[in-house]
């Protein structure tokens, strides 16, 4: 065992996790429907605290002798770890948050898998999926009935420059001063900064039950290892359910600077807010960053204008370099959400009312074929076009950082995306700007695009 690896026996600090014998079987290395491999790789990502590596393949290779096993003991479950990353430990003791996250991971994987095994005909209707996301969040104890709307979802890049990072901390500090909670994708960068800032201001406000919710999924967790401030980790089964969870669990969304993933998220939420059924539902959406990010947001704003139009721009507000104003506007937005739900008897803890089109719910497989056949034309309803643009960005994110996507690119070359010129040109320009600004990869690495934008002149 090298000196950066440790073996240890881990018990949950709080005695919450209990599995039946049947569920324990699901986690054995061998056996039908085994969760072992996915549990092992998620655990490894969780244990990889504070590492700068966002490449799942490298991580898995470095710790190929890592093993994790579940043991039943008199007082409950125990995890037996072998050759785990030593960064998860302080003086030989596992950091408490990391320990908690391992058990959260176990809880979510078992729930998802057990559900699927018992219910072999899966989730076809839109309602089925929405109920399923609810059940998963409830099982993860992420739905807290009775609390007023106060969850701010923060989206943006996991790899940002220092100035942007400091800005996210400042915004988090202002949000925390106003008693707001933070929900992110649970990795580093924009996913960590607001939590760090809010930790300090929650301490100042003597808020002891503050929530730092991290929503992730098995495909992304290795690239965006949960930061240890997260005190509620939920692993959703795939990227679409994760996005739906953000939208229904959160009460407002902040978008910080990022790259393709951030554009995907913006297109996703705009596609939803543009749905005719949602036109009366208040949903605070703010794009913000430090002075240096002004140009970035201008580019995005212009891209939205060119592709989805003026109406889409009315659904968000851009605020540059003003954490206090961001926080005040978000607080005002929360009040609007509260009023609306009270009047409509809609639950504070889960946004049942908002319509998420089936297009946004079904997983998009980022294959070369699917990417090539995306329709990107202005004759579609705006929210449908937003859906397809979202998929295009989703595929690019996969090609950049997800194991499956990276492999596909290595094998078949870059994805081809095509559509009408009035969409493809702005798209190409935006992507080019992202590459130039170093927003596609970790700083210091050279980026080779995983896509080719083509203009479909025939249409």
């Amino acid at each position: 065992m090298s000196d950066h690896k440790l073996s240890a026996s881990i018990t949950p600090k709080r005695s919450m996790e209990m599995l039946s014998q049947r569920e324990v079987l699901l986690l054995k290395k061998t056996g039908e429907g085994s969760l072992y491999e996915i549990f092992r790789s998620c655990s490894l990502a969780i244990l990889n605290v504070g590492s700068e590596c966002d490449d799942a393949k490298i991580l898995l290779a470095q710790y190929e002798d890592f093993d994790i096993e579940i043991k039943q003991e008199d007082r409950g479950l125990k995890l037996q770890l072998t050759n785990a990353p030593s960064s998860a430990f302080v003086d030989g003791q596992m950091i408490a948050s990391t320990r908690e996250m391992l058990f959260s991971c176990l809880r979510d994987l078992v729930f998802t898998q057990a559900k699927l095994q018992m219910n072999p005909l899966p989730l076809e209707q839109s309602d089925d999926i929405t109920n399923y996301v609810f059940h998963l969040l409830r099982n993860a104890n992420a739905l807290k009935a009775g609390r007023l709307p106060n969850i701010v979802v923060c989206w943006g890049g996991h790899s940002i420059v220092r100035e942007e990072y400091e800005y996210t901390k400042a915004v988090g500090h202002e949000l925390g001063l106003r008693g707001l909670n933070i929900c992110t994708g649970c990795g580093p960068g924009v996913m960590k900064g607001p939590m760090k800032g809010a930790t300090i201001s929650h301490a100042k406000q003597r808020i002891y039950n503050a929530r730092y919710i991290g929503l992730t999924e098995p495909g992304i967790i290795a690239a965006e290892a949960p930061n240890p401030i997260v005190n509620e980790l939920v692993i959703m089964p795939d990227i679409e359910k994760r996005l739906e969870a953000f939208v229904r669990l959160g009460h407002g969304i902040l978008i910080f600077p990022g790259g393709a993933g951030t554009a995907e998220e913006l297109l996703y939420i705009l596609g939803i807010l543009l749905h005719p059924d949602n036109k009366d539902i208040p949903y605070p959406l703010i794009l913000t960053g430090p002075a240096s990010s002004e140009k970035y947001f201008q580019q995005l704003h212009e891209f939205i204008n060119t592709t989805l139009g003026f109406e889409a721009q009315q659904h968000y507000k851009i605020i540059i370099d003003n954490p206090e104003q961001v926080s005040k506007e978000m607080k005002v937005g929360m009040q609007a959400v509260e009023d609306y739900r009270k009047i409509n008897s809609d639950a504070f803890h889960y946004n049942w009312a908002i319509k998420i089109d089936h297009d946004f719910q079904v997983p998009f497989e980022p294959t070369h074929e699917n990417m090539a056949s995306l329709r990107l034309y202005k004759d579609m309803p705006t929210h449908k076009l937003a859906a397809n643009l979202r998929r295009a960005f989703s595929g690019i994110v996969a090609g950049n950082v997800k194991a499956q996507g990276v492999n596909a690119i290595e094998k078949h070359g870059p994805f081809e995306i095509s559509g009408e010129p009035s969409i493809m040109k702005p798209l190409d320009k935006l992507l080019g700007a992202f590459v130039k600004q170093g927003r596609m990869k970790l700083p210091g690495t050279k980026y080779t695009p995983c896509y080719i934008v083509k203009t479909d002149t025939a249409s």
Copy 2:
């Protein structure tokens, strides 16, 4: 609305219960797989606090205009009650424990039903049932990992004389002084006395998280309305799963005086302990009562001897009129349970190790045909004979107090039970003694036997 009825809107005090839209649909008055009727009748039983009526039919008739409806509100669920029994209220406010129980009932019915709907091929294997009982108890938050064995199951009559009731309080007081928790069938009589005694001694010992667990099932809850000290109510789907829950959740069993139901319980646990697989598993079992009950226990002891034999007698101890000794022996027994589970890495919170034969797990339908065809012969393995004797008593309990059984008796006359004379004669004698001692019905009512014991001379 008469003056003994009240209408009210009820919210859960602690914000634990959240239902998905799908689950709320299950509780609508109309619709597929609706739980409405069962929820209504269980709720009525829960609201019938402190009533002396143990006849479900009378209760339902008295409150035929009672209605209960679920409403989704911003902060969670609300129950809308119309024409509810006023005994559940103090100055117009519902008693907190009653309120909690209504939501516990909701939780358990939804879990059971949702499970069944998703998993249409039910629970065939013994293991399936054991895992199912675990899942149900876990969902009810009744499994608390990490606590040492300290749950004492108290069985006995719901209708006992004053002296016996005072004795159960004294025993409960001694158990509570030693930090033990109480689990009963959650009704009055023996199901309430130990909880009342323990409430006082837990207060003296400054134990603030004491558990008063009530395990019931929809068929029995009306006859044994939960007493309001119960702070964990769990509604199991049927009598067999309820019995399995007692055995796997509890760490020791006390049997107080009772009637046919108590005999059923004693035969059930003896049948399990007599199973060859269980011979090394410690399970403290004590039969106890005041001086006046000595004869009652002698009769039972003799009946066990004649039918199941000397070995069966070794599994329990009879202690007359000595609450302190009962409590001390139970405490010693808990230590043996703790030691055994530590050595065998068996969970403290759920007795996975004990073998419960499939015979004891499948519901016994108390029809005239099933009762008539029970085999009661000494050539069977002892634990199989115990199983059938248990069923005989189970049928008699149904014929005495359960709606279905009472209806069958009204329609077809008494059940016939038959077997070899060396079993049937002691059985007849024991039942006769119960009738004579008034242990078949509430005091003050005349009892008409719902059974005929026949001797099968042919065998």
Copy 3:
């Protein structure tokens, strides 16, 4: 060491009690201003749980080899007990409430003594005493800011018949159902019953921070050993400060049947309520008991009429055999108290506004001389006459049960009390009735009056 005595080392369960080296010195057996003797005798009374003995002298004689010593350890204080009553232990472990009370006793004695040592010129002004009582209660953590008025003081005999005891439990049960807390003199009988009843109903109402306050003083604690339900024991320095604490800490008073001590308490509160300054201050005062006690209350009512007059009768209400009505009226009274204090910005946690005359605050030494020189004439202001009648009863209580008083009677014969005939005759009649009804001593013992009532014909 006999088998009813145990030795043990006791640490506080909650780490609240810390003493400075100077304070520890106060408790050494030798040394200036030592508290050792008083701490030893109070501790012995506390340890004497559940004993039927109410005679301090017998208790002290029985445990003359009892010793208690304070030790400083790394984690705080420890008490070293030698030859303590075994009734305070369950299986060798001290009952948690008893353990707590020993540390409460330590806290109060040290506070009182340290205060007196530092402030050698004591409490001369009425305001001084009132502030001192406040400081003592605050130091005992008995003042809880922010809670609404809900403390019901229950007065009455420590030695009552079964039926009366059961009645006090029923009243306590009803009070607890309405969320009210109980404050008594902390001994058995009336001081225990309401707490026991409320313990059950507080459990039903899921009230986990219920208060069972016991106010005692060193001279009475041996005769009225704290019952173990008390979860806040406060030892006031003398009888008058204890009475003031009842009145200022409590929000309403219930008087159950009792003997001379109960009459003393009624006269005390009437004397205060009759003070002209207090005429607008709401103070619910209810006299109640089972049907059998009706005559007792008629006698008291008549005595009040004859001596203090009709106006005094307006300050209380007598309710016979109706626990629910008692509780409802007390609840209504609490609301009046709340309203009054809100309007007048008077603290909920301490009744600063009520005037307690200096006469009621200074200790009355029950010597033969003081008893003989009491003025009992109708030409006095009513509240002054009430004060002197109170003293007469106080002396009789001392002569009955307090060490000092009993010794004085043994030495000099009965006290002589004299006054004008229109007071002395009713007094003699009332005392005679108490003797006849066995309200002067524990049942089963013969009572020899410690007083002679004389009529002062000269006046």
Copy 4:
């Protein structure tokens, strides 16, 4: 009212603070022994959150119309603020920590004053002072019995450069990862950084009861306004009692870079540790800073060597630029403290055993006369020389930042300090280095020395 001032009514969040009428009188603007002025100025310092101003005079002048008044209400005390600094508020609501601190301030001032009024002959013996400090800390609830040694006192400058500040955060983060708590002088700079770092790591370790103790005194609070992470503020009556509180409450001391005040603190603790009575008492003492501070510590180390000698150097360890090692060594030191106290039955919560010479306990008045007459010669016992050197630095601190000292300097010119050359030369050199490094005043301001070092050639 200008826009940077707010008026508000403040109630304590937790209902802890209750005052008697007598105590409320102490805080009235007029009246004997009034605390009003001192309460007003301390409150102003507390409200001055986040301000960069460390000059009490400027602060008082800026808010000369600020007023604070105590009101008694039904639920307890209320503070009425007029024209308070708006920096203490977020959207019109006072920051919770600031609110808490105002009530802590009230508590401590009342305790101190009430004590002094009742005990007019004050604290002459060394033991008296030690017991008094204990009583004050106990009253502030700062003594928590039962917890293992884990309080790290952090000393150093309130005005340090960015790199040093970041370093203190990194050290705090490592201390928090190991479960250690932080105690500082509660101002900015070194007093804030470790708390900020530990807040993040305590969150990671799920430590919810972490302690951020700030010990201050009325004369320094304006210059070192409490940072809002402090969750236990204690105001000691003077600088010497504050220093004693640090030593007896803390279990180890870290010294970061600072100026004259830091040198004073180092001399204080060395003077104590050099006392012959203390030679066996473990007391971890570490001097640490980033790489850039290496020279600073070399200068101090050399100064100690030249003046107090090699033995004094053995009492501390210097660690440069290694937060993890600092934290590990401190953790090891804590274990030694724990072991020592267990063996000697010394309380974990208060270091009774360590001898603090009377010289270190009595307030040193920094008058020109006292400064001039300090004896600084090597023929004194080392701990006595340390005491006088400490006083010299104390006077310089007063001349730099305390109102009284600054006034004296303005009036009479700089203090003169004299002694034998082998002490005065190193002293002059060290002070010169501090001036040169800008450690005497806030960065950006020009420093005029408040002292003249003279060599006493006669001696």
